[in-house]
């Protein structure tokens, strides 16, 4: 039985109508393409709606910048395994970080800054930069004295626990005297170039919520230069 085919149709359309096998194949391809496009749109929305890395999530030493780290890390957990102090964890769905990526939280357990950096050596992909050989050059974040109101040293006491526990004591954080109406204060002052962001100061801060915290560098530090808005008067 031959089908009636209108005369004014293109050659391509004609060949599809005349050839049911091909018609079937085209149907299948378009159906799959439809599923793929629809699925990809939904999945992309899901991926982008995953929470961004929270500020308290710190990466192991030598970690690439977050965006590159996210693509380079293959979530194998070899760094976690080789951490002698078991501070590293792999993110579950409950953690505000991409699933399966390694992190530590300074307030719970800070990085002990092993001189042989076993976590970096374990990384098979270079997500933890193998060029990092001196742990003092690591950049996991930077300590910032975020709360001047509650810090005991600002109240005139000499707690200074953050200065005393720092593994790079006297260099990364030191006491700077300031004279004000309360008298002579000894203020813990971080040198951002020396601080590795290991988090020991945050861990040991004696208050129930730490007044000194390790933040990712882009959150914790300003950058010199000019901001056009700063000089504009509206």
């Amino acid at each position: 039985m031959t089908k009636h085919i209108p005369e004014k149709v293109s050659v391509a359309v004609k060949s599809v109508i005349e050839n049911p096998e091909r018609r079937k194949a085209m149907k299948r391809i378009f159906r799959h393409a439809g599923v793929a496009v629809f699925g990809a749109v939904v999945a992309q929305a899901v991926i982008f709606s995953r929470p961004a890395r929270a500020a308290k999530i710190l990466r192991p030493p030598g970690a690439l910048p977050e965006k590159e780290f996210d693509s380079t890390c293959i979530r194998c957990g070899l760094c976690v395994k080789d951490c002698p102090y078991d501070i590293l964890k792999l993110a579950t769905w409950a953690d505000p970080a991409p699933l399966g990526t390694p992190f530590f939280v300074a307030r719970q357990d800070p990085c002990r800054m092993c001189t042989d950096i076993p976590c970096v050596k374990a990384c098979p992909t270079g997500a933890l930069d193998p060029l990092l050989t001196d742990i003092r050059k690591a950049d996991m974040g930077v300590a910032v004295l975020v709360d001047h109101e509650n810090c005991l040293n600002y109240k005139g006491l000499t707690c200074s626990i953050c200065v005393r526990v720092c593994p790079i004591r006297g260099e990364a954080i030191s006491l700077k005297p300031i004279q004000n109406e309360r008298g002579l204060l000894q203020i813990p002052t971080v040198d951002p170039d020396k601080c590795t962001g290991c988090g020991t100061c945050e861990k040991h801060c004696v208050l129930s919520e730490a007044t000194i915290r390790v933040l990712p560098r882009e959150l914790g530090l300003g950058v010199s230069g000019t901001n056009a808005m700063g000089r504009t008067v509206w």
Partner: protein, 286 residues
Amino acid sequence: MANLFRRIVSYLKSHPWLLMRRTLQILIVLAFVIDIPEVGRIAHGNLSSSLWFWNVPLTDPFVLLQSWLAGAPLAKVALIGAAIVAGFYAFFGGRIYCSWVCPINMLTDAAYWLRQKFKIKGNLTMSQDLRSVLLVMALVLSVITGTLAWEIINPITLLQREIMWTSAVGLTFLSALFLFDFLVTRRGWCGHLCPVGAFYRWIGHYGRLRVMAVKTNACSSCTDCIKVCPEPHVLAPVVAQKAMAVTDSDCTRCGACLDKCGNGALSMKLDLSRGNSFRGIPIVKD
């Protein structure tokens, strides 16, 4: 209790392939978890990337491909590991991973077993091509989003992490997967959806380890092998005596057909004959 134990032992005795498969699967899970006294741990890491016997790196080529597509440079150790894994499956057959290594297989096999026990007939029909669609989606999304798209939900490494760190956050997803296979679709996950299986099928398209019909005249055409096969279509040409070997890359080499066949018509062989290399035995169509 002793009776149940005896029944399990006799079942495994009559199903040697199943016994071997489960033993290997469980040993692989344990290798990542158990510290052997005086020796330590045999495997470090997880199925994404691992270090075996303190020297041999193994990397999942699918995870590495996603990472590369997401924009990461390729590192030497990971590449060596991926080459070893890809080479093995390319030679022997890709979906060996699915039935001999993947821990999710134990979960879905359990769901299928329950499905039969409860005689659940309802079945949501899905195209088996869906897994290829998901595979392409995972790769394209890795390029678009700059993250390892499939690793956000990959139940294989999820299950392994749950076991290794005794976490339970992913259990919701894993139990959903179990219920899906149990109640919704026959062999739903492994047979229709999992892009990891689709990827390994693609790598091991010409795998040489094959189920072969060694004695075709011994076959009584009872089709029992097809009934137990997780990918039944792969056996059809052999049972119809149109082919001497299972050449379809969907075959997971699980050996369920070998355990089932009482006539000894089938066997698992390394098929190196040049006559049918890269083409398979021509199937006569009527």
